[in-house]
């Protein structure tokens, strides 16, 4: 029976289901217990599953991820929360040198089913360090899987799959979409975690995005549609691996690609997508792959974020430029 649910609530329900289904699943992080997380994503979980399963941790991100690794080695499946994107960096060493590599280091003997949840991205008028999109800094690192849902239903199912995965998954939650609602069918059978999805079909140009930018791309496609341009919108869902096959299939049809993300363009996901798709579709592309994203500058103070973030106009501008080739 499908139910309409906000994205934050969908993750909450997904965590609840996982905690119910498997006694080895743990939820841990700063303020995730009694408070239920600063975004209430873990609301009520400690009350129902106790302090042994839903753990308020000391204020130390390296410690959170480092102990989660130890718990995973003991057979647990920790889902850890990093309170905001900008606070993942104290844990970066544990993620990059330990979490990502321990499976390989052990020649496959140990598995690290750890999910690192990171509310990310801007658009909520927050202070410094609360609006960043660091996914590229993780995607470059082998051993990690990186996903980001764009809507509540995906959030629900992708979290289920991330927790079931025997690999570490960095789960980027589009915080400005936390309150957006969608139908969730708890009986549905979800598609593969790392597969992109065509959310709107089109013939003139492909817009590829993930997380918070999918909605923007849908709005762009709608606006462009009114001007008679047919845009295909791909929700990539996964940043590592990237579903190049789906992008390629779309680009072979539309012959033009614009990639959109909040993260800075320089060394961002768009670079990898552009490079690889250009290689795969060299004779198909009518225009270079264009990228719309943040600038090479620190995420700006809130009153500038509208200028910094890719919005309808900037994406449309890139679409026009691509179509002009």
């Amino acid at each position: 029976m499908a139910e309409k649910m906000a994205l934050a609530k969908a993750i909450n329900e997904s965590l609840r289901k996982a905690l119910e289904a498997d006694p080895k699943v743990l939820v841990m992080g700063e303020d995730v217990g009694k408070l239920g997380g600063v975004f209430r994503v873990t609301d009520g979980l400690q009350k129902d599953f106790g302090e042994e399963r839903v753990i308020d941790t000391p204020l130390a991100e390296s410690g959170i991820v480092g102990t989660a690794i130890g718990l995973a080695l003991r057979g647990y499946r920790p889902v850890v929360e990093i309170q905001f994107d900008g606070f993942v960096f104290p844990a970066y060493d544990q993620i990059v040198t330990q979490l990502a590599k321990m499976h390989a280091r052990s020649l496959g003997k140990v598995k690290l089913p750890v999910v690192v949840r990171i509310p990310y991205g801007g658009g909520i008028g927050a202070v410094e360090h609360h609006s960043e999109s660091p996914e590229a800094l993780f995607a470059h690192v082998a051993g990690l899987k990186i996903v980001s849902p764009s809507n509540a239903s995906d959030a629900y199912w992708m979290m289920q799959q991330a927790i079931q995965s025997d690999d570490p998954v960095i789960f980027f939650e589009p915080k400005r979409r936390y309150w957006d609602k969608a139908e969730i069918d708890p009986e549905a059978i979800p598609g593969p975690l790392h597969k992109a999805r065509v959310v709107r079909e089109g013939t003139d140009l492909t817009l590829a995005a993930y997380g918070p930018m999918v909605k923007v791309c849908q709005e762009v496609a709608a606006a462009a549609g009114e001007e008679g341009k047919s845009l295909e919108v791909l929700d990539l869902r996964s940043v590592s691996p990237l579903d190049f096959d789906s992008i390629q299939a779309s680009v072979e049809k539309t012959r033009r690609l614009v990639v959109v993300h909040e993260a800075p363009v320089f060394f961002g996901s768009g670079a990898e997508i552009a490079a690889r798709i250009t290689e795969r579709c060299f004779y198909h592309l009518e225009a270079p792959v264009l990228r719309v994203g943040g600038y090479h500058a620190p995420y700006p103070p809130a009153r500038l974020e509208e200028e910094y973030l890719p919005g309808l106009d900037r994406v449309l501008d890139a679409v026009d430029r691509a179509l002009a080739y």
């Binding site: 308020d56 204020l59 103070p301």
Partner: protein, 396 residues
């Protein structure tokens, strides 16, 4: 039992909770320990009675009534400013506010212990210390309004920018202090941080560096009992001031709601630093009377009665009681201060409302000191893009 240095420190939790989680029942933590705490430096009781302390009295013995009134004024104005900021947030003028309510004595006492040449590394809540340094309060509001990430010149008042990433400023303070020592300068550095921050690796590393290089730095921990929703027991099972001992420098716990004690203890720690005796950890035992920030809802995790108990120890009421009892201040003083306070509120309110939004091109400013080709390129693209709208609008 000599070799087990902390055999006396039993875990506070019952050994029965084998699985190791801490008891997190919402208990009122209103005193550091039961009864009088020999480890807590206090010069003014909650009732405003001056108690003797042979060790710390010398640091406040020459304090004049005028200076006492000054401390009182600092606390009142800081609280007024803070309240104004909170209501400005409610009115939508600020995106967020982190109130210092209840921590005025810790901040004013330590802030007024500093010399001009000393350097301060704050968190995001040190509005009272900023006040002592002469930073215009409205400057503090820029980042909470979202117009900048810190609007003052750190070197203007030797008051560094607010730091949001918990704990990282303690290393900057330590490095700065290492530099002070290299310069042979006669000043000291103070790093503020919270009880939650004490868990961060950076804070421990700053203790190590400070100890090894004998840096002239004071680590000032405001233990306000909470890190957002987490009580101090989620960070430590022994009093925080004891952390210093294992790094080889002294730790002292002071009543953080007693401005005189905070002044004295900080003065002494700064003196040690200046004398080449190295770092000191000060734990100011206080209480966050309000929410963590305006985004927070403390009713979800703590009882009102805890707050009520701490209200009885209010830092401002305490000093007022002392001032009145000792005839150091009269009605005229309190009345004038009331008026000054209102004026400050008004000034701040007006200044915030008048604060202009930043220029769009500010995005590209100061990313680098020496420039960067990509920033130039993106700035130019942005300009062209902006101009394209002007064209459209102009063309209409």
């Amino acid at each position: 039992m000599t070799e087990e240095s902390t055999a006396a420190h039993k875990p506070r939790r019952s050994a029965g909770s084998k699985a190791g989680t801490t008891g997190t029942k919402r208990t009122s933590r209103t005193t550091p320990r039961k009864g009088t705490d020999p480890g807590l430096v206090q010069l003014l009781t909650p009732e405003g009675k001056r108690v003797e302390n042979p060790e710390y009295d010398p640091y406040v013995e020459d304090i004049s009534p005028e200076q006492l009134r000054g401390l009182y004024r600092d606390m009142v104005l800081t609280r007024r400013f803070d309240a104004e900021a909170t209501s400005l947030q409610r009115q939508g003028e600020l995106g967020l506010w982190a109130s210092l309510l209840g921590q005025e004595a810790a901040q004013i006492g330590s802030g007024r212990a500093l010399n001009d040449e000393d350097y301060v590394f704050p968190t995001y809540r040190e509005h009272g210390v900023a006040w002592c340094r002469g930073v215009d309060p409205t400057n503090l509001l820029g980042m909470f309004r979202g117009v900048n990430n810190g609007g003052w010149d750190p070197n203007g008042n030797n008051f560094h920018l607010y730091t949001i990433v918990i704990g990282s400023q303690t290393l900057h303070a330590t490095g700065y202090a290492m530099g002070v020592a290299k310069d042979g300068a006669d000043s000291a550095v103070i790093a503020y941080f919270g009880d939650g921050a004490s868990s961060q690796g950076d804070v421990a590393e700053s203790f190590t560096f400070a100890a090894v290089y004998n840096a002239p730095v004071v680590f000032f921990c405001q233990n306000n009992q909470w890190a957002i929703s987490e009580p101090t027991e989620k960070q430590t099972r022994v009093p925080l001031y004891q952390r210093a001992q294992g790094f080889g420098f002294p730790g002292v716990r002071v009543d953080g709601n007693d401005v005189l004690a905070c002044l004295a203890v900080t003065k002494r720690a700064l003196e040690r630093a200046r004398n080449g005796e190295g770092p000191t950890l000060v734990e100011a035992f206080t209480y966050r009377m309000g929410a963590h920030t305006t985004s927070d809802d403390p009713t979800r995790y703590r009882h009102d009665d805890e707050r009520a108990a701490w209200e009885a120890k209010d830092p401002i009421a305490r000093l007022r009681a002392y001032l009145e009892a000792s005839n150091h201040a009269d009605e005229g003083f309190f009345g004038e201060l009331e008026a000054e306070s209102e004026a400050l509120g008004r000034r701040v309110r007006e200044a915030v409302r008048a604060m202009p939004d930043p220029d769009h091109f500010a995005i590209f400013e100061n990313v680098y000191a020496d420039g960067h080709a990509l920033v130039d390129e993106e700035r130019a693209q942005f300009a062209a893009y902006q101009a394209s709208f002007a064209d459209v609008e102009g063309g209409r």
